[in-house]
């Protein structure tokens, strides 16, 4: 088989790339070793937030929100996009100062965000107990929100197939063929597929995929757990998060409350088994934030992986040494919300050779001996 671009991984990023490239008339074949959404995408909170600490993330997220808000129309399917806002707890004076700085930066870049007090917290999410949260206030951005990760990814995949993309599920790429520092093809299930580009959008497995081309990337897979409760009447729209406690939770359109927090037994590695300590810690913290949830049952509890880069920022763009090898990973727990912009930048680069500042600032080369500026506004 022969194609222009091979995409490895059927998550939000792989499927979005398949859609964008095929729309431009480029020949693509996507390989997913399990099923669409089986990686982090099908296990994530799918929250979409513009309240970041770096200029780069704020712009990427803001531009992504613009795309998300038109995506149902573009993909001709409802992707469940909803703007209920993000409420970010502020716990003390020091955090308040930092929040003021962030808000200033965010507002200067056109994000509608403000600092609110304890009473306003209760107005926006009536079930919250600001004292239990140890909160003195919060920041709130009403245009932050959420989309359904399954609906979004499958919509991309279906439209991509209509555009002529080939999507192979239950097929694993086991080898990448590189000759004279250039990508020549891949091997999937014993079959060789010739191509000019390989995109590594294999999420937490991206370091294994990069190794296939002889490239070492500094990413680590980190087990992350999440829960959903039984369905309840809708009582709030916002996503509630705290950088100090690491908790995030929101109520889905269907009524379930979904959330996560860093677990006490969080470890690196491909560990699928959930931990009891997470369940306990999550339940205790969640009910400290929202005491009325004490007697709501947990329905499901699962694990997924963050693909963590050293500075918690994504790694994108063509490899400096292997031509045709495209990085698209290292999302560190926020790859759903950034995917519209990131995949647009990558597909414009492949189709038209279009450059972008982000291809430099987010290049794999940034880890070579330079200072790393870390994104600090991370939860989960």
């Amino acid at each position: 088989m022969k194609t222009d671009v091979v995409i490895i991984g059927g998550g939000i990023n792989g499927c979005s790339l398949a859609y964008q490239l095929s729309k431009k008339g480029i020949d693509v074949a996507l390989f997913e070793r399990k099923y669409i959404c089986s990686g982090a995408t099908g296990r994530c909170g799918a929250g979409i937030r513009q309240q970041w600490s770096t200029r780069e993330n704020i712009i990427l997220a803001k531009e992504s929100v613009k795309i998300f808000s038109k995506l149902s129309r573009e993909l001709k399917e409802d992707i469940g996009f909803r703007q209920g806002g993000y409420l970010v707890a502020i716990h003390d004076e020091k955090e308040l100062k930092e929040a003021e700085e962030r808000v200033k930066l965010q507002r200067s870049l056109g994000v509608d965000v403000k600092i609110i007090d304890k009473d306003e917290i209760k107005e926006i999410v009536p079930i919250l107990d600001p004292d239990g949260m140890h909160a003195i206030g919060a920041t709130f951005c009403p245009t932050d929100g959420h989309a359904d990760p399954f609906k979004t990814t499958f919509a991309y995949a279906r439209r991509a197939v209509e555009n002529g993309a080939k999507i192979f599920t239950h097929r694993e790429v086991s080898k990448i063929i590189v000759e004279k520092n250039k990508v020549k093809g891949v091997v999937a299930d014993g079959e060789r597929i010739d191509c000019n580009y390989v995109i590594n959008s294999a999420g937490a497995w991206s370091r294994i995929v990069a190794r296939m081309a002889g490239i070492d990337i500094p990413n680590r897979p980190l087990r992350k757990e999440a829960i959903v409760t039984e369905k309840m009447k809708r009582v709030f729209d916002a996503m509630v998060i705290s950088f100090r406690d690491g908790i995030y939770f929101s109520q889905q359109s269907e009524g379930n409350i979904l959330g996560g927090i860093p677990g006490p037994d969080e470890r690196e590695g491909y560990l699928y088994q959930p931990t009891f300590s997470f369940l306990n810690h999550m339940a205790r913290t969640l009910t400290r934030y929202a005491p009325v949830l004490k007697f709501v049952r947990v329905l499901r509890h699962w694990t997924g992986f963050y693909d963590v880069s050293p500075d918690a920022r994504p790694i994108i763009g063509e490899d400096p040494n292997i031509k045709g090898f495209i990085h698209c990973h290292g999302f560190s727990g926020h790859g759903f919300m950034l995917s519209p912009m990131v995949t647009k930048i990558i597909s414009d680069y492949i189709s038209d050779g279009k450059d972008s500042d982000y291809l430099h600032s987010l290049s794999i080369e940034r880890f070579k001996g330079k200072d790393i500026s870390r994104e600090v506004s991370v939860v989960g």
Binding site: K231, K233, Q273, F276, L279, K294, F295, V296, H301
Partner: protein
Amino acid sequence: MRIEEHPILSFERGRKVHFYFNGKKLYGYENESIAAALVANGITQLSKSLKYNRPRGFFCGIGKCASCRMRVNGVPNVRICIENVREGLEVETQEPLAELPSREFDDKGIDTLECDVLVIGGGPAGLCASLEAAKSDADVIVVDENFKLGGQLLKQTHKFFGSKHEMAGKRGIDIAKELEKEIIENNRIRVFLKSSVFGYYESDHGHLFGMAQRLDDMSEKVYKVKCKSAVIASGASENFLVFPNNDLPGVYGAGGVQTLVNVYGVLPGKKVLMVGSGNVGLIVSYQLLQAGMEVKAVVEALPKIGGYFVHAAKLRRFGVPIYVSHTVKEVYGEDKVEGATIVEIDKNWREIPGTEKRIDCDVVCLAVGLSPSVRVVSLTGADIRYIPEAGGYVAIHDDCMETTKRGIFVAGDLSGIEEASIAMLEGKLAGLYSAKRAGKDVNEDKADEYRKRLEELRAGPFGERGRIAKEKIRRLWKECH
């Protein structure tokens, strides 16, 4: 309506108690489930569907379908078919998306329980596994979601076929009583009723499960259960069929109706259409006749009757027509079943126009097979495969009933749909080998005996499906190793 006289059963209903339904005072009995007490009071619409707000009645009667959820003492989403009636209980219908709980309870903390063997499910398989493991000196905890032990045996009022070792000639309900008595008298076995095993977690050694016990005040107590090995015998849930109005109150699982009639002595209606002529369909039809209901017809999609000849003959003697090559076309009614249309089908399962018949009935029973309840076992990471002859997804296991996850055993309907005598024997095998995994000395000669009897039970023509299923499972097991 409650049955006052029954040819073979006397109902131990216990003390009469009062409870409230949507503020109205009703009475029931302390050994009844809330669902049974409501149906006895003529209340058949229990919940509303999530999306379209359609009326729903109960379906399975054993905690598996969630169509009976109500608010009890301020706690939403209670499955009232496995919750017993108590004096003063406040039961309310809820909107599809329930309001948050309105009650406050004390923080009960989390306790840790330890045992050699944890048995999940207190049906015939689980009870036999518990006894067998305890006989090999294992400390056992057995857990069931229901408020009584026995699983599906509780409602089987007919005499069993099969080997005398598995108490053939006795009624299922009496077998359940004997097993329960033995369990209670055995001080190596601790029983947790109204308790659901909800999760499987990472642990350094042995196995760690999460369990929630429902307390009388409707709060729940959470336990961590540490064990050296576990037998999962969570049974099966009844299959559903697709036809217009299949969700109207009055369309029930045959097992659910059997529970209502045989365990609680409550009649869900007067006139029944039975769908499916396997043994379950035939036996339940006969039992409904015994209980004083009218069985209007049995329909069977295949060209011949599925169950034993003797059961079909009994029905014919009562003049019940059995229509083969027929299916339900639709059920009609406003907010409960008021009748059904059946239709003949050809070899390719296509309806033959002009063959429709209207059946005047207020209950439609679906006896169209069961699917193993694999959720708990799949959490452990055991290899699960789809095997049609086993009834659906099952955990691959060896002839000691151990899954691909070391120390995790399966038995009974969960390991492939068969019948109660087989469930008991598989339970014994799983009990024996789970004790061995827990480090106990066991007498493996007994295992050969159990395997021989299993082979005998599966030897007949009705054992064929089970035989094929187990052969496939064995083959897959070998591939896995």
